[in-house]
């Protein structure tokens, strides 16, 4: 795809600015800690059940769901092969409707562009709709450092902003929080303004609405993300459930969309296909509650809308993935189905993954965006059970991509030495049938003898085996017979 490279070259010049702290290298420690968090477990159990069941119901109702998946895959593949064409087409159509387009190769540039727009008299407060892209470079921190007030308006994002945490799920950022935790958090932060302590779900939501309503009406700038960029019309499609995105975009005088380059799609017809997939895959909704198309600033005969409309197109490492063996991950429409169906994610929650994107798609994307050496555990944080692949609406072969990461780590010599030498030893045995049969036979015999020396033999299983503590600390291990199947076969049927 030589054409795509041309336009994106400028975006690839500088390294990715990683502002959000990368903690992916401490995966195992954080994950183990997360397993002990009973609140997290309760929250995740509830969320997992809900997401999985509702998705299944919504997907089963659409008889040609599989055809839509294939349509989405081929549409995204086509766009990625001609990304330069679709992005420039999108850019000129945004400009034709009176909007401005800014290209940002990394997080630093995004922060600078947004600050440049906001740095003028009378701009103090920014409301913000949910945007995972902006988490990649901690946009909020950059704006706050410049003295601006930033208020997250998605309920989940608002909760974690108060808690000073990062999202643990890409569509349900506060999924790890229990109701009790939110009650306490609201009391702590809203008491001063005279709000009472609220414990019921509806009261909690209503209090957030009241607090946020004030912010919506007094904000000077609204920042939102974008789910799809429609090249044909220069529209931004924003899909939300709370309506906060629309209030953020329409009430302030300036609307800034911070979004990434792989989100462009050709036309409105394609949008129809993606919408059928997104709501169903994400939350099991046939359609999300609010689906809005933003087209430029307020026109002369419009009654409302922003006076200025900016789109910041963010690369931040994506063009480096384009054309690589990982290009499939750029099809991702950030629905979260892979993590909802991932038994590892639902056991440990999103924070253990250590960066913006958790779960299967995060384990593929994070090493690509922050560097493999900063996320060495993520490619292995997977049993390759393949459930994510079967639910992905754009058919990303997630387990295969994780295996490719592992393959790259091996080829770069970056696997742990114990793993490397263990594998080497095993391989030398496994490639030689005579040696293999001898070694396996000896191992069976030795384990069996070891069992006879302990109570394991009578029990039929070991409670502890030297060097196998990782297994036997929580699981019994069966005592083998004295001879292997192949040895028995050879004896009985005389075959070699």
């Amino acid at each position: 795809m030589p054409n795509s490279w041309l336009i994106l070259t400028r975006a690839r010049q500088s390294a990715i600015g990683i502002d959000m702290q990368v903690k992916s290298s401490s995966f195992r420690t954080t994950a183990t800690k997360a397993l002990l968090d009973e609140d997290l477990r309760a929250a995740m159990d509830r969320a997992e059940g809900g997401f999985v069941d509702t998705r299944k119901q919504a997907v089963d109702e659409l008889v040609n769901f599989q055809e839509y998946r294939e349509f989405a895959r081929s549409t995204k593949n086509h766009v990625l092969a001609h990304l330069d064409y679709y992005l420039t087409r999108f850019e000129s159509n945004v400009m034709a409707s009176g909007g401005q387009v800014h290209w940002a190769s990394n997080g630093e540039e995004v922060n600078r562009i947004v600050l440049d727009i906001c740095r003028r008299p009378g701009i103090d407060k920014i409301t913000k709709g949910k945007s995972m892209v902006s988490e990649e470079f901690a946009l909020n921190a950059g704006l706050e450092a410049a003295g601006l007030e930033v208020v997250e308006t998605d309920l989940g994002e608002y909760i974690i902003q108060l808690a000073e945490e990062t999202p643990s799920h890409i569509i349900a950022p506060a999924v790890h929080k229990t109701k009790q935790a939110v009650t306490d958090l609201f009391e702590e932060h809203h008491r001063e303004a005279g709000y009472p302590r609220v414990v019921e779900r509806l009261d909690i939501v209503n209090q957030a609405r009241q607090v946020l309503r004030d912010h919506f009406c007094t904000a000077d700038v609204g920042i939102t993300g974008g789910n799809f960029l429609i090249a044909d019309t220069g529209s931004i499609a924003l899909i939300t459930n709370e309506g906060n995105g629309d209030l953020t975009a329409n009430l302030p005088d300036i609307h800034i969309v911070v979004t990434s380059i792989e989100k462009v799609i050709p036309d409105m017809q394609a949008l129809g296909g993606f919408l059928r997939l997104l709501g169903r895959s994400a939350t099991g909704q046939i359609m999300s509650v609010y689906t809005t198309l933003f087209n430029g600033p307020r026109r002369i005969d419009d009654l409302d809308g922003p006076g200025e409309f900016h789109v910041v197109l963010v690369d931040n490492g994506r063009s480096g993935i384009l054309g690589s063996q990982f290009q499939d991950i750029l099809r991702c429409i950030k629905c979260g189905a892979c993590m909802n169906h991932c038994p590892v994610y639902t056991s440990i929650g999103g924070h253990a993954y250590g960066w913006v994107y958790p779960g299967p798609m995060g384990s593929v994307l994070t090493p690509l965006m922050v560097g493999q050496k900063n996320a060495p555990d993520l490619p292995y944080a997977c049993t390759l059970n393949g459930r994510c692949k079967t639910v992905c609406p754009v058919m990303i072969p997630l387990p295969d991509l994780l295996r490719k990461h592992r393959n790259n780590l091996v080829e770069m010599g970056q696997t742990r030495s114990l793993q490397k030498w263990g594998m080497q030893l095993w391989f030398q045995v496994a490639r030689n049938p005579s040696l293999y049969n001898m070694m396996v036979g000896l191992y069976a015999l030795k384990l069996n003898m070891l069992a006879r020396l302990t109570s394991a033999f009578r029990r039929g299983s070991f409670k502890r085996i030297p060097l196998l503590g990782a297994w036997t600390s929580t699981r019994d291990f069966p005592v083998p017979q004295t001879t292997t199947f192949q040895a028995q076969w050879k004896r009985q049927r005389g075959h070699d």
Binding site: T383, F427, R431, V440, A444, D476, R493
Partner: protein
């Protein structure tokens, strides 16, 4: 049906024993041989090692390819290759082709093995297509039995109805389905020792499902998963016994469960 009347007498089938069954549970391979022979096929067990799955999943592509080459030439003379494991069969069927350059002669030979390799229950139901007679040994034992669908067999090979059909037809078993029968048990090869804490949580979720349907027996088709689940059940003092489905289907008595002496 009985073996004696079979027209397939001359068809040679190679059993892919699988490393785990070879070492830890020869009963499974024995049961597989028995079952295939009941259909009148001739079973052979050429001296073999491993299909390369551990290397392949660890990202050791070069090593996996060398082991794949061994398997391809080893099984070249046979009409079918049958494995009592979804993940080993899937390694060959789904992942071997990617190890060789398309269009090369190695790839072509690889595809021949891919075509003729089957997971045991898939082979019996979809290829052999014969009904097994009722197992007299099993009699009218009424056991509450649930089934764990191992991930590779389920998602890569579509093995779901086949073992259930065999169990129903031959033993009259109606599976008491657990809601999480298709969720990974946390084994995942090296995963279970690399992340033992996460793996244990996952197997605990599986155990919750088993206990939820009050199953006396858990059956499945992949020994790795079964050792993981059986090991956890045994450790927490559960009385649920774990077997490979083939051990129940074969004529010989299933004997002690995985991790039990009697």
């Amino acid at each position: 049906m009985n073996g004696a009347i079979s027209p397939q007498k001359t068809v040679q089938i190679a059993l892919l024993v699988t490393c785990l069954s070879d070492l830890f549970r020869p009963q499974i391979a024995r049961a597989a041989v028995e079952l295939i022979e009941k259909f009148g096929y001739q079973v052979d067990v050429p001296r073999q090692t491993c299909c390369g799955q551990p290397a392949y999943n660890a990202g050791e592509k070069v090593k996996a390819r060398i082991l794949a080459e061994n398997m391809i030439s080893l099984f070249e003379p046979y009409r079918y290759v049958v494995a009592p494991s979804g993940s080993c069969a899937a390694t060959i069927k789904e992942h071997y082709p990617g190890l060789f350059d398309e269009g090369s002669s190695e790839h072509e030979q690889c595809m021949q093995l891919v075509e003729k390799t089957h997971e045991l229950s898939g082979f019996l139901v979809d290829v052999a297509k014969a009904d097994l007679e009722k197992n007299p040994l099993f009699g009218d034992r009424s056991l509450r039995i649930t089934y764990h669908d191992s991930c590779s067999g389920l998602r890569e090979l579509g093995i779901r109805s086949q073992p259930r059909k065999l169990l129903k037809d031959r033993l009259g078993i109606d599976i008491s389905e657990m809601p999480n029968s298709e969720v990974c048990c946390g084994f995942g090869g090296m995963f279970c020792v690399k992340y033992p804490e996460i793996s244990t949580r996952m197997v605990d979720n599986k155990v919750d499902g088993i206990e939820g349907v009050e199953a006396e027996v858990l059956l499945g088709g992949d020994l790795g998963c079964l050792m993981n689940i059986a090991g956890r059940l045994r450790r927490i003092g559960s009385t649920t016994r774990v077997y490979h489905y083939a051990e129940f289907l074969a004529d010989s008595d299933p004997g002690p469960a995985i991790g039990y002496r009697d």
